[in-house]
Amino acid sequence: MKEPSLGEFEELVLLMVAALHDEAYGVAILEELEEKLNKKVNISAIHVALKRMEDKGFVKSRYGGITADRGGRRKKFYVITAFGKNALDQQYALRTSIYQQIPKISFG
C-alpha cells in the first residue's frame, strides 16, 4: 500500500493538533492557525483536513462533554497518533536534509 501522504495544509493542522495536545478541536485549531498564519481560514478547510487525516490514521478523536455554549453540541477533540507523529518526523527530516544541501555560497 502506498504510504499516506501529508499535504501542506494538513501538515499545519497536524502540527497544531500536536501542539494543542488534548485541547485540539475545530474552533481552537482554527483560531490558533489564524493567529499564527495571520490570515483568515474557513472552518470547513479544517474539518476536511481533520477528516482526511483521521482516515489516514494520523489523528484519532473523542467527544468531549456537553457544555452550555455551542448550542449544546459536544466538542470533538483530536490527538495525534504515533503514526501521525512518525509522519511529521519524516516530513521534518526530509525537509531538514534537503535544507542542509543548500550551498552557502549562493547567498554570499
Binding site: Y25, L30, N42, S44, H47, R74, K76
Partner: protein
C-alpha cells in the same frame, strides 16, 4: 437575548450532512458564529451561511440511497418486492389483468391520436381561421342541394362590390390528374388551377423561388416531392415543364409538401388560373355566362365577420341570374375549420360529417378505457381478499394503517405503470399499421407535454381507484379478524359487478350483431349484378387536351395489336358519373316538375365494349347518321319518365326536340353499389376522359398490357400509360364499408375480451366468497356437476339478460346504419342466434375455468381455517 444562527442554512446542513460529522461541524459552526456575533451579527450570519455551503462537499454529504435512518425507503423496497412476488405468484391472473388494462390504454391512446389528427386538420395554414370556401344552396323540387361549384361572374361581383370584406378571392378549378414532363421524365400528378394570391392565402412554405409564382399564365409552382421526382438534385427554378403535352410552363416556385392533414394536401402542383382562361375557349366564354363549374376560395379581411359577410352576399346569384332566381339559389361561406369535419349538408343545413365519427370514436375510446379500468379494479379487488392474511400479519407486527394504504396504492401503481409502458410499446410497434389502415400519418407524441400530463394523470387516477379498495378497506380490518379470515365484502360490491357484466355483455352482443350485419351488407352489395361485364375490362385515363382528335388513331392501333377485342371512349369512368342535366322535358311530364338526369357521353362502341344489356330497342350504330341525335336510356330513366314504351319518343330541351330515344338498357351500377341506380341518359359525344378497353381473353393479361403500352408509347411517347382494371376500381367502392367492417371486428374482439375480463373478475370474486359453501356442499356429497351448475347458473342469467337488452339495441343501430343504403339486406335471424350462442359459450368457458378450479378443491383445504 438568545442568538440563533440562520435557520435555513442550519436546516440545509442537517439535511445533507452525514450523521457522524454533523454534531462536530454544527457545534464548531455555532461556536464560531457566537464569537463572531459579538463583533458583527450580520457578518456572523453571512459567514455561517458561507461556511455551511463550503461544507457541502463529498466528504460530508450522506449517502442518499438507503441511509442508516431511512426505514421508509427500506419499506418501499419491501413493497416493490411484495408486489413483484404477488405478480409472479399468480402469473396467469397477472397476465390477464395487466393485458386487459394495457389493451384498454393502447386503444384509448390510438383513438386519441386519431382524434387529435382529425381535429388538427388544416391548422397547418397560417390563415386557417380566415379562409373559407363559397358554397351554393340550390332548391330543386323543394329540396335544397348544397354544392361547391360557382360561376365565374360571381368572382367579379365579389371583387368589385364586396372587395373590402376579403383579403383574397381565389378562383379555382378542380383537383385532377395532369401529365408533367421534363426531359425524359414524365409523371402523372394531381394539381389544380388557382388564381394569383393562392400561395399567400394558403401560407405556402416556399423552399425556393417566389411566393407570387402565379402572376403569369406560363408559370407553375411545384411541391417539393414533385420537384425532386422531376428534376432530382437539379435546381428547378426557371426550368421548363411541359404539362399535358400541350403547355410549356416555367417553374417559378417550390413549396414544402403540404401535410396529409390538409385539404390541399394532395395538390402536388399549382398552375395559374390565367392559364386555364387563356387555353380554354369555354372557360373564357364562362366569364360572362352564369355557368357554375368552378370553385371560389376566399380569405376574409381581418375586420370582416363571417356572419355579416354571409348576410351581404347571400342573395347575389338570385339577383344576378334568372335561372338561379328560379331555383332560389343562395351562397354562403364555409369556413376552413369545418371543411374536413363538417362537410355534409342535408336540405341546405349543416348535417355533421366526420365530426360524428370523431365524437363516436372518442366515446368508444373513453368507454373502453373506463371498462378496462373498472375491470382492472374488480380483478385487483377480488384477488386482494387473498391478501387479508398478509394485512393481518403486517398489522400484528406493527404496521400503521397509513403504511398499509401506502403499500397497496404503491402496488397498484406498480402494475398500472407496467400496463402503461406496455401500451406505449404496443402503440410504437403498431403505429405504422394503424397509419396505413386509417390512411393518416401520426407520430408518437414523444414531445407533447399535454400527452404526458394526461398519461401521468391517468396512471395516477387509475392506480388510486384500483388500489383504493384493498388500500382503504382491507387495511381497516382488525388483525385478528383478518388472520381468522372471517370477513365479507359488502353486498353492494357484488351488485355493481353484476350490473357491469350485464352492460359489458350487452355492448358485446350488440357489436357482434352489428358487425355481422355490416359484413352481410357488404357481401350483399358485392353480389349485386352490375349490368355490364367488368371482368377483363380496363379503363385508361386520358387528358382531354393531349388526346384531342386521337380517338380513331388509338382505336385502330389498339385493335390491330390484337390485345383488345373492342374499345370505346367515355366522359365518365365506368365506376362513377361526372355529369348531369336538369330541366329536360318530355311529353307527359307533370307540370312544374324539374327533371334531373345523370349524363354520360360515349362513343358508338360503348355498349359493345362494356357488354351492356339492351332490354328494348337497339344499340348505337355508326351506320346510322341520325344516331348523333339519339339517346339510350336506362330502365330507371324509363320509369322516371313514366314511359311504357319509350322507343321513338323525344326528350326536349328548352322546348325544342333534343334527342330521340332509340333504346333502353338494363340499369348499370356505376355509382354506389348500395343506392338505387339513377335515371341516366347515354348520348354520342366527344370530350372523352377515359378509353374503355375489352381485353382479348385469348392472350394473358400481361401480354395484352405489354402490347397496349407499346402501342400507346408509339403514339404518345410523352404521356405515361395509366390504366386501371374496372373490377378493381369497382371493388374500391366497398373499401369504405370494409374499413368500417374491420374496425367493427377490432372493437367487437376488444369488447368481448373486456367483457370476459369483467366476467372473470366477477366469477373469481364470487368463487372466492363461496369457497367455504362449496367445501361444505362437497362434504355433504354434492357432485362436481351439480356444483358447477349452481355456480354457472348466476352468470348464464346475467348473459341472458344482456341478450334481451342487446337485441333491440342492435336492431335500432342496424336500422339506423342501414338507412343510408337503399339497396340493403334485412338483418338475418341467424345473426342474433349466433351472437347469443357465442356470448353464452364464451361465458360458460370463462366461468367454468374459475368454478371448476373451485369445485375440484379438497374440502379440507378451504375449511381448515375455522
Amino acid at each position: 437575548m438568545e442568538i440563533h444562527p440562520p435557520k435555513r442554512a442550519l436546516k440545509f446542513l442537517r439535511w445533507f450532512c452525514r450523521e457522524d460529522f454533523l454534531e462536530e461541524i454544527e457545534g464548531d459552526l455555532i461556536e464560531v458564529f457566537e464569537k463572531q456575533h459579538k463583533v458583527s451579527p450580520s457578518r456572523a450570519r453571512r459567514k455561517f451561511r458561507w461556511s455551511v455551503i463550503r461544507h457541502f462537499r463529498p466528504e460530508f454529504i450522506k449517502t442518499f440511497t438507503i441511509g442508516q435512518n431511512s426505514i421508509q425507503l427500506a419499506m418501499l423496497k419491501n413493497y416493490f418486492k411484495t408486489s413483484y412476488r404477488s405478480l409472479l405468484r399468480n402469473k396467469g391472473y397477472s397476465f390477464i389483468n395487466i393485458s386487459g388494462l394495457t389493451l384498454g390504454m393502447a386503444v384509448a391512446m390510438m383513438i386519441g391520436l386519431w382524434v387529435n389528427h382529425e381535429l388538427s386538420y388544416n391548422t397547418y395554414h397560417e390563415n386557417y381561421d380566415r379562409i373559407a370556401q363559397v358554397m351554393r344552396n340550390k332548391t330543386n323540387n323543394g329540396i335544397i342541394y348544397t354544392s361547391h361549384s360557382q360561376a365565374r361572374p360571381l368572382e367579379f361581383i365579389l371583387r368589385e362590390e364586396f372587395g373590402d370584406s376579403f383579403e383574397h378571392i381565389i378562383m379555382g378549378g378542380w383537383l385532377t390528374d395532369h401529365v408533367l414532363s421534363h426531359d425524359q421524365v414524365t409523371l402523372t400528378q394531381e394539381g389544380n388551377y388557382l388564381q394569383e394570391g393562392a400561395p399567400q392565402m394558403l401560407g405556402l412554405d416556399m423552399l425556393s423561388g417566389v411566393i407570387n409564382g402565379l402572376d403569369e399564365p406560363n408559370k407553375i409552382m411545384l411541391s417539393r416531392s414533385t420537384a425532386i421526382a422531376l428534376f432530382g438534385a437539379k435546381d428547378p427554378i426557371g426550368e421548363i415543364i411541359r404539362m399535358d403535352n400541350s403547355y410549356d410552363l416555367i417553374v417559378s416556385g417550390i413549396y414544402a409538401d403540404l401535410p396529409l392533414n390538409t385539404t390541399f394536401g394532395p395538390t402536388q402542383f399549382i398552375v395559374p388560373w390565367s392559364l386555364l382562361v387563356s387555353s380554354k375557349e369555354n372557360v373564357r366564354a364562362d366569364e360572362t355566362e352564369w355557368n357554375t363549374l368552378y370553385q371560389i376560395f376566399v380569405q376574409l379581411a381581418d375586420h370582416a365577420d363571417i356572419q355579416a359577410v354571409n348576410d351581404k352576399i347571400r342573395r347575389i346569384p338570385s339577383e344576378k341570374d334568372e335561372d338561379e332566381a328560379e331555383s332560389n339559389t343562395e351562397i354562403f361561406l364555409h369556413p376552413m375549420k369545418d371543411w374536413h369535419l363538417r362537410s355534409n349538408w342535408k336540405n341546405g343545413i349543416q348535417a355533421g360529417g366526420r365530426i360524428q365519427y370523431v365524437i363516436l370514436f372518442s366515446i368508444i375510446g373513453a368507454f373502453v378505457l373506463f371498462l378496462a379500468c373498472i375491470n382492472f379494479m374488480n380483478l385487483s379487488t377480488a384477488r386482494s381478499q387473498r391478501r387479508a392474511k398478509e394485512v393481518g400479519i403486517r398489522k400484528s407486527i406493527g404496521s400503521h394503517r397509513g403504511q398499509l394504504i401506502g403499500q397497496f396504492l404503491n402496488e397498484s401503481f406498480f402494475v398500472v405503470i407496467i400496463a402503461f409502458l406496455l401500451a406505449v410499446g404496443i402503440i410504437v410497434v403498431f403505429l405504422p399499421q394503424f397509419n396505413s389502415f386509417m390512411k393518416i400519418r401520426v407520430d408518437f407524441p414523444w414531445d407533447s407535454l399535454a400527452f404526458w400530463i394526461i398519461s401521468i394523470a391517468f396512471v395516477l387516477v387509475t392506480s388510486l381507484l384500483a388500489g383504493s379498495y384493498p388500500a382503504f378497506y382491507l387495511s381497516s380490518f382488525r388483525p385478528i379478524q383478518a388472520l381468522k379470515g372471517s370477513f365479507k365484502a359488502g353486498k353492494g360490491a357484488g351488485l355493481s359487478r353484476r350490473i357491469l357484466v350485464v352492460v359489458q355483455f350487452a355492448v358485446s352482443i350488440t357489436l357482434v350483431i352489428c358487425t355481422l350485419f355490416i359484413f352481410r351488407q357488404v357481401q350483399h352489395g358485392k353480389l349485386r349484378p352490375t349490368g355490364y361485364e367488368r371482368e377483363g375490362l380496363i379503363q385508361v385515363r386520358i387528358q382531354q387536351d393531349a388526346f384531342k382528335n386521337k380517338y380513331d388513331l388509338f382505336k385502330n392501333a389498339f385493335l390491330q395489336s390484337g390485345a383488345v377485342l373492342e374499345m370505346s371512349g367515355t366522359h365518365s369512368p365506368l365506376t362513377d358519373v361526372w355529369w348531369g342535366s336538369s330541366g329536360l322535358t318530355w311529353e307527359g311530364m307533370p307540370a312544374n316538375f324539374r327533371s334531373n338526369f345523370d349524363r354520360i357521353r360515349v362513343s358508338h362502341d360503348y355498349g359493345s365494349s362494356i357488354q351492356w344489356e339492351i332490354v328494348r330497342g337497339r344499340d348505337f350504330s355508326r351506320d346510322i347518321a341520325s344516331d348523333s341525335l339519339a339517346v339510350i336510356i336506362n330502365e330507371s330513366a324509363a320509369a322516371y319518365m313514366g314511359m311504357e314504351d319509350p322507343i321513338g319518343k323525344t326528350i326536349d330541351a328548352n322546348g325544342t326536340p333534343w334527342r330521340t330515344i332509340i333504346g333502353v338498357v338494363k340499369d348499370m351500377v356505376m355509382q354506389s353499389p348500395y343506392q338505387t341506380v339513377h335515371q341516366t341518359l347515354y348520348t354520342i359525344g366527344g370530350g372523352f376522359n377515359f378509353y374503355t378497353l375489352r381485353l382479348n381473353p385469348a392472350n394473358s393479361t400481361q401480354e395484352n398490357l405489354a402490347r397496349l403500352e407499346k402501342v400507346f408509347k408509339s403514339i404518345m411517347p410523352q404521356v405515361p400509360f395509366n390504366f386501371e382494371f374496372v373490377d378493381e376500381a369497382y371493388a374500391q367502392k366497398f373499401r369504405g364499408e370494409e374499413r368500417v367492417g374491420s374496425l367493427a371486428w377490432v372493437f367487437t374482439g376488444l369488447a368481448i375480451f373486456i367483457s370476459c375480463l369483467g366476467l372473470f373478475g366477477l366469477s373469481s370474486f364470487m368463487v372466492e366468497q363461496r369457497l367455504k359453501e362449496i367445501g361444505i356442499r362437497k362434504v355433504l356429497g354434492a357432485s362436481v356437476l351439480s356444483l358447477w351448475r349452481l355456480l354457472v347458473k348466476d352468470f348464464v342469467t346475467l348473459v341472458v339478460i344482456a341478450c334481451f337488452i342487446a337485441v333491440p339495441l342492435a336492431f335500432y343501430f342496424v336500422n339506423d346504419w342501414g338507412q343510408q343504403f337503399e339497396y340493403r339486406i334485412a338483418l338475418p335471424w341467424w345473426v342474433i342466434l349466433a351472437a347469443a350462442t357465442a356470448a353464452l359459450s364464451i361465458t360458460l368457458f370463462t366461468v367454468s375455468y374459475q368454478t371448476l378450479r373451485a369445485v375440484n378443491i379438497t374440502p379440507t383445504e378451504c375449511l381448515k381455517d375455522e
